[in-house]
């Protein structure tokens, strides 16, 4: 059964990506979509037709952005859960989200338009993470609890900063822009240069985590045991957490705060193929992509207006997790 799930999960990602290209307000027959894709792959994109432009410049980048962000949040969530020994950890505990949110709010409310929001968000996200690490290192020698607690503190601090930015935003439409950004939407990242920049960070970093998937098992045993198995838990955790933080910062700064993916997908994977990190990390990569692509399809297809993805992932995620836990939660009780 586990092997069937594994095959399904791996193939779900390319399948979801291709099928999602068929969806959109402008009707394009699936055969035509495939033809356009084929032409593009053979480097003969024939951009003359509106259909080709819609598929290649609107739908494909948007779907790829959703896949990348889903991959990013899921794999960083999965690896952080292992190395922090806590199944309730999400990629957002390390201060990255609130850091990105504050940066985005400042850029949207106060900075001139030519400064890219995602750049400011990325910088503040990384600054927030570095503060978390500095506090955890200075105060708790990099222990798990010190990382989590300083994450909580920095999150609170940056959230207060975010409220200040909203409060002092010069006009109401700037406040609206901040609120909309915070809801999370892959459309903000749906252009080719964004896709390429995200890919360059997310994919190599994800490969590092996938390669270290067995090591994350060892770290999940706790520091004393990991040490007795020859690891250097504090340094290794810091390294892998930084990789996960970079992935998360990259996704969040482009797409805003998309909740639940990084918490939920690793759990779905555990319930389907088992808890060993070797499985959880690898299959979170694929299932995370699929999950966000499908969620984004819903957000585009359900109504004429696009519902922010961050809201949908949460609405979709909660019942899925409850159903799965009811069915297979035996081992967790």
């Amino acid at each position: 059964m586990e092997n069937i799930y594994k095959i399904l999960i791996v193939f779900s990602l390319p399948a979801a990506i291709v099928l999602s290209l068929f969806i959109g307000p402008y009707p394009i027959p699936p055969a035509k979509v495939l033809q356009i894709l084929f032409n593009a792959l053979t480097l003969n994109p024939q951009l003359g037709s509106a259909a080709a432009r819609i598929v290649l410049y609107y739908r494909l980048p948007r779907v790829l952005a959703a896949a990348l962000i889903g991959i990013a949040l899921s794999i960083s969530g999965a690896s952080l859960q292992c190395m922090m020994r806590n199944p309730l950890v999400s990629p957002y505990i390390l201060g990255i989200t609130s850091g990105a949110a504050l940066g985005a709010a400042i850029a949207l409310a106060f900075l001139p338009l030519f400064i890219p929001v995602e750049l400011v968000a990325m910088i503040t996200a990384i600054v927030a993470y570095l503060i978390v690490v500095a506090i955890a290192w200075g105060w708790g020698r990099g222990s798990i609890i010190s990382l989590v607690l300083s994450g909580v503190v920095v999150n609170a601090l940056f959230s207060a900063g975010l409220s200040l930015a909203e409060y002092f935003a010069p006009t109401p439409d700037k406040v609206a822009a901040i609120v909309f950004w915070l809801m999370g939407d892959v459309g903000q990242a749906g252009q080719w240069p964004d896709i390429i920049r995200m890919t360059l960070i997310i994919i190599p970093c994800s490969i590092v985590l996938v390669m270290a998937r067995w090591r994350l098992n060892i770290l999940s045993l706790g520091d004393d045991e990991a040490r007795s198995l020859g690891a250097n838990p504090v340094l290794e955790r810091l390294f892998f957490a930084s990789v996960a933080a970079l992935i998360t910062a990259s996704a969040v700064s482009y797409a805003g705060i998309i909740g639940w993916v990084g918490l939920l997908v690793p759990h779905i994977v555990r319930l389907m193929v088992g808890s060993d990190s070797r499985q959880v990390i690898t299959y979170s990569f694929f299932l995370g992509g699929t999950y966000l692509v499908l969620a984004d399809d819903l957000s585009r297809a359900m109504t004429s207006q696009i519902i922010p993805l961050g809201i949908l992932t949460t609405i979709m995620g909660a019942p899925i997790l409850i159903i799965l836990l009811r069915r297979a939660g035996k081992a967790w009780r």
Binding site: W214, R215, N217, G222, R227, S228, L229, G230, S275
Partner: protein
């Protein structure tokens, strides 16, 4: 190659952040073929001593493992010498028993490598050997405390550790599982599958039944060190624990029982 004693501790002291001494001038040796029982009330420094021998903490004084100073042994090499059986603890993720035991191969791998077919074979062989083969695919959270203790020992064997350090392996087990666990350690030492073991214990009875040497700690100091006959005398024990003990002879071993 044969080094004796396999663990040599001399004048070891330790304190957390310059506070009160948790260990004060501790000296003892673990010889080949021996089980050393470490006894003492809660807070006597037993766990701290184990952490120093695992290279997690560093004290002042001499600590030698297989003749080499522990500070000059890199963690990965130390992990191939010393296997650690932690106290009962909370397992976060319900790993399968086989995957859990397989993690013992970690010191033989780098950060980015995966266990091989050979590693799996070794893990399965050890599980079968200890009569745990039928548990291999069970979740680690589903097995009993006694079985878990044996699984932990299996992991150190998969690790190919030469010396076992065990932190209160039997204090939460019923008597049958406690006997099973200690007898397994005895057997591993006698069959020379491990060079020796150091076990922290709460029960003087278990200590007198299974240990070749006793290290009795009290407030970080060595109260006595020697054979069970020498070290476990009623006066010393009542001084340390504040309970009176009687001594009885059983099968050529001297057993201590508390007087109630």
């Amino acid at each position: 190659m044969e080094v004796n004693p396999i663990i040599e501790v001399e004048g070891l002291s330790f304190s957390y952040n310059g506070g009160e001494k948790v260990l004060d001038n501790v000296s003892f040796e673990l010889h080949k073929g021996e089980i050393l029982g470490v006894l003492g009330p809660n807070g006597a420094g037993k766990t701290t001593l184990l952490k120093i021998l695992l290279g997690i903490l560093r004290g002042t004084g001499t600590v030698k493992v297989l003749g080499t100073d522990i500070s000059s042994i890199p963690p990965k090499r130390l992990a191939k010498i010393i296997g650690y059986v932690p106290q009962e603890h909370h397992i976060v993720f319900p790993y399968k028993v086989i995957d859990y035991v397989l993690m013992g191969r970690a010191p033989h791998h780098g950060m980015f490598s995966l266990p091989s077919r050979k590693d799996y074979d070794k893990a399965y062989r050890v599980l079968d050997d200890l009569g745990l083969g039928s548990l291999a695919d069970k979740a680690i959270t589903e097995i009993s405390g006694g079985q878990f203790q044996l699984v932990l020992i299996a992991r150190t064997l998969v690790q190919e550790a030469r010396i076992l350090l065990m932190d209160e392996p039997v204090s939460h087990l019923d008597i049958s599982n406690a006997v099973k666990t200690m007898s397994l350690i005895r057997k591993l030492v006698e069959e020379e599958r491990i060079l020796g073991a150091m076990v922290t214990l709460h029960d003087p009875l278990m200590a007198s039944l299974y240990c070749d040497k006793i290290l009795l700690l009290n407030k970080g100091r060595v109260e006595t060190y020697g054979s069970p006959r020498e070290a476990l005398n009623p006066e010393r024990l009542s001084q340390v624990y504040g309970v009176d003990f009687d001594i009885i002879k059983y099968n050529n071993r001297y057993i201590l029982v508390p007087i109630i």
